[in-house]
Symmetry: C2
Subunit: 542 residues, 2 copies
């Protein structure tokens, strides 16, 4: 049986274009004599359309496009993920479904059983779970079709009382398909592989896994679609972060196992972030980015990533020195810009800063220089970058890292400005590691940027270490708290100082209000700030 999968980018909400893309792939596969073509979960509407699913007109359009697609299945069968109306009087209005089409019509619909509702997922908001288990049949082969979470019946914290694949296996399928919308984080590839391989080995059955690729603001889909034979050998695999159409002859004994090497953490993150920027711009039909280059490591890294994603001519680096900027901040930035050959300009903020201070003089008289004056500089930079963004139709990239977003070491409406927080899910220590990855063959980011002590340069001689613990320590504690969900007691029990732990956790909690107004963050870890971490805004944890 010749099966094709289509690991493609499907834009959220763009039913017409997604349908055209699906039809094109069907026509091509049909031409190449495939028996079945498989598209990812909710391919028709992109993942996730969120509250668009609540609009009746949106669901009606889905139905129309599905009929159009089915009409093209003359010689081939197709599996297309899309929402299905729940005709029962009770329950949520929709199912998350897979439409099985052949003979120019929708022949069967399979519904998703396990609905993820944790971290970035909220499928219980929209969908009713499936309760009936049936196989599909094609050319005398029986197919167990599952949708994403359906095979994650027992993984870490997600323990469900139903095991959909087990129910299907009782009916003796010949192979399993899982269509997914499984967003990237740098460990997800391993988890996914483990889950699938365990299922294959448990049931001794071939397995085809088809995922989305491409980024939708926060969520990046890495693809990584793959097929295993009944012995658990990988027999086909799509690349990460790239559209790909794969053909596989599933029961052909001549198909040999393939070799793959496990990707490196920073290679994956690099590719993910480049994909994240690229799609964010492309899908909104923007070409050019602007960002502030401080001479520090964060903005240096974002510049490199943006240049890789958009092309050097499309990234405008702006140096915004203040009276407290050091000489090397300028010279290091200029060296980086030279290494990358991207356009740049210098806009000193001193005069504007002084003018604002004299405007505020009547209000500020008899007060001492403090965080107010520091923030004025950061906000003036934000204002100038946004002015350039507005004037020349650039998107402003935000350069905050996860450590500073966590503890609120950033100025709201200042350096927190921007449409996309490119490295907002990388701790400062990871930022350095990713820079090393970029420099692995050649020094692109000047060494001095990587070795000098981090500083916001908003007052004379300021260093991050004046206000924060060393990043090595800070990041470890943050990781325990944010990714691993440890309590202060649990972290202290690991050998960290009581006061340090409490003061860090307290900073995280106190700065929820800043994160609520922060730029959307490209998610690369298992717990990013944003969509997947819902915290009360006004709380007192006591």
């Amino acid at each position: 049986m010749r099966i094709v999968w289509a690991q493609l980018y499907f834009q959220i909400g763009n039913l017409s274009d997604n349908a055209l893309k699906i039809i094109e792939a069907i026509e091509q596969a049909q031409h190449n004599k495939a028996d079945l073509i498989v598209f990812p979960e909710l391919a028709l509407c992109g993942y996730s359309p969120l509250d668009l699913l609540e609009q009746n007109s949106f669901i009606e359009k889905c139905k129309k496009e599905l009929d159009k697609i089915a009409a093209h299945c003359t010689q081939i069968a197709a599996i297309v993920g899309a929402p299905l109306v729940n005709n029962s009087l009770a329950g949520k209005k929709l199912f998350n479904a897979a439409f099985f089409m052949q003979h120019q019509k929708i022949e069967r619909v399979i519904k998703k059983t396990l609905l993820p509702d944790y971290d970035v997922f909220d499928e219980c908001r929209y969908f009713e779970p499936n309760k009936n288990f049936e196989l599909l049949e094609l050319k005398n082969k029986k197919i167990a079709l599952t949708i994403c979470e359906d095979i994650w019946d027992s993984y870490e914290a997600n323990v469900y009382s139903i095991n959909p694949l087990q129910e299907l296996i009782k009916q003796q399928p010949d192979f399993v398909i899982n269509i997914a919308a499984s967003p990237f984080h740098y460990r997800q590839y391993h988890h996914r592989n483990l889950i699938i391989k365990n299922k294959v080995l448990e049931y001794k059955i071939p397995f085809i896994y088809v995922n989305h690729c491409g980024a939708h603001a926060e969520l990046i889909f890495d693809g990584g679609s793959r097929a295993f034979d009944a012995e658990g050998n990988l027999i086909a695999a799509s690349p990460f972060f790239k559209e790909d159409i794969q053909y596989i002859d599933l029961f052909d004994k001549r198909v040999k196992p393939i070799e793959t090497t496990d990707p490196d953490k920073y290679q994956l993150i690099y590719d993910a972030l480049v994909c994240g920027i690229k799609d964010f711009f492309e899908k909104q039909q923007f070409k050019k980015a602007v960002l502030g280059l401080s001479g520090g490591v964060d903005s240096a890294l974002v510049l490199c990533l943006a240049v890789a994603a958009l092309g050097k001519e499309n990234v405008y680096a702006v140096l915004l020195p203040s009276p407290y900027s050091t000489e090397h901040s300028i010279s290091d930035s200029l060296e980086l810009v030279k290494n990358l050959s991207c356009p740049h300009t210098i806009v000193p903020i001193e005069n504007s800063f002084n003018e604002i201070l004299s405007t505020l003089e009547p209000s500020f008289k008899n007060t001492v220089f403090n965080v107010a004056e520091e923030n004025i500089q950061a906000r003036l930079r934000g204002l100038i970058l946004m002015a350039l963004s507005n004037k020349f139709n650039y998107i402003l990239l935000n350069t905050s890292n996860k450590s500073e977003i966590a503890v609120g070491y950033g100025t709201l409406y200042g350096d927190m400005c921007g449409s996309l927080a490119v490295i907002g899910d990388l701790y400062k220590t990871e930022v350095y590691n990713l820079c090393q990855y970029i420099n692995r063959n050649k020094e692109i980011i000047p060494q001095n940027i990587l070795t000098k002590a981090p500083s916001a340069e908003l007052r004379p001689g300021q260093k991050d270490s004046d206000s924060l613990p060393d990043y090595d320590l800070l990041d470890k504690i943050l990781n325990y708290y944010i990714e691993q969900g440890c309590s202060s007691e649990e972290i202290i029990a690991k050998g960290y100082q009581h006061e340090t732990v409490l003061s860090i956790l307290n900073m995280v909690q106190r700065n929820e209000y800043k994160r609520r107004q922060a730029a959307p963050i490209l998610r690369v870890s298992s717990k990013a700030f944003g969509l997947g971490r819902k915290m009360p805004l006004v709380a007192k944890i006591k």
Copy 2:
């Protein structure tokens, strides 16, 4: 049977203080010889603790506090809402539960069956639904205890396949209690009353309803706890937006029906917003607010509300005239400030604006004055207001209204700055109506502010009507789209112009990115921007 309910404010996450408050109410009720005291849903942890519920230490602390509370129930029984650990291997880790305490221990636990997962609710993220139905018993009376959504089994779009109250009624209870965390919107009071009254009339059974009061950032709880006799007569009612302890002798024939009048829409909204501001400040231990006064109706209204909530001496009004501000903007603002007797200052932005323009001259040369220059002014105002906020520890109030937030008629990091969007859930037409409500006895907001044409005053002679349809028309279309979920086709079918409808809906969709970074909005309608409206950031609806 003497029953007490405690319509109190419970701070999210503040388990220690909430427990103390609960214990104090128990002691008092015990002293007054009550048989039972009832607290609202999740009273112990506040509503909603969101992902705090995922922290094991948080749940353990809940358990400890519950035991402490139970130990105080020597002569009285108590019902306390709190999370309960799900000891089953499968399913979500918690139940949303009500703990029935007497004889100094937790005697029974009742779990919530229907978990709301729409609009601002996402209880499926945390809780496993109940499946067993049992009554409580106290002094020979059988109690059907339900939790909030449990009585909303069939309301509008929320149709559940289980009717918890019906299940309980089969066991012949003597009365019903519903403990709730039902946030305010201006129609919710009617819905709630209708639901409860219909249940009472259907089952001919007395009913006690106990709700939270007070505000937690976006969500405002109006309280409105009440009791009905078996004939559907209201026999006791707590006031709206106020803490209240009520005693009711439930089976005493001498208890007479009480009369209440339905509150007016704008009276409710006014009280809600004042409560929203007050609690936002109090719970974060802030006293003072700052806001920019433009001479327009929005900032005038926010100033009035802030003065009502915080006291005139605690609200600092800042006039920030630009070269394009009109004379009357200043004079009208000064008149308002005089009427309210609150402190104010004038900080002209012209010099700073010019200095920034000359700094940007090399970049901007040969371009024409456009939205970039307009936004610089708005952002400069934001910067100055934030500087005052930082310097003097004020919270900046945002003054955007729902119409402009909807269509993106506001400057991100400019007039969109602020920690709380006070009137962000009021359409412009509702803003005027609320101003009339404030002026009902005496002119507080100067007439000229209410009659002049709305303008952002960012270029000479600018009017809102240059860019937007009339607010009467705009607000009607926005209401159909946002609150009522109508599609463009459905709105056009109501008689609105095709082009106008499409252009407005397009503006709403295009500005999702601005709303993602907007200040949290006090929710007063059934569909506010923010928590309860989850839209994809990069989508193309086609």
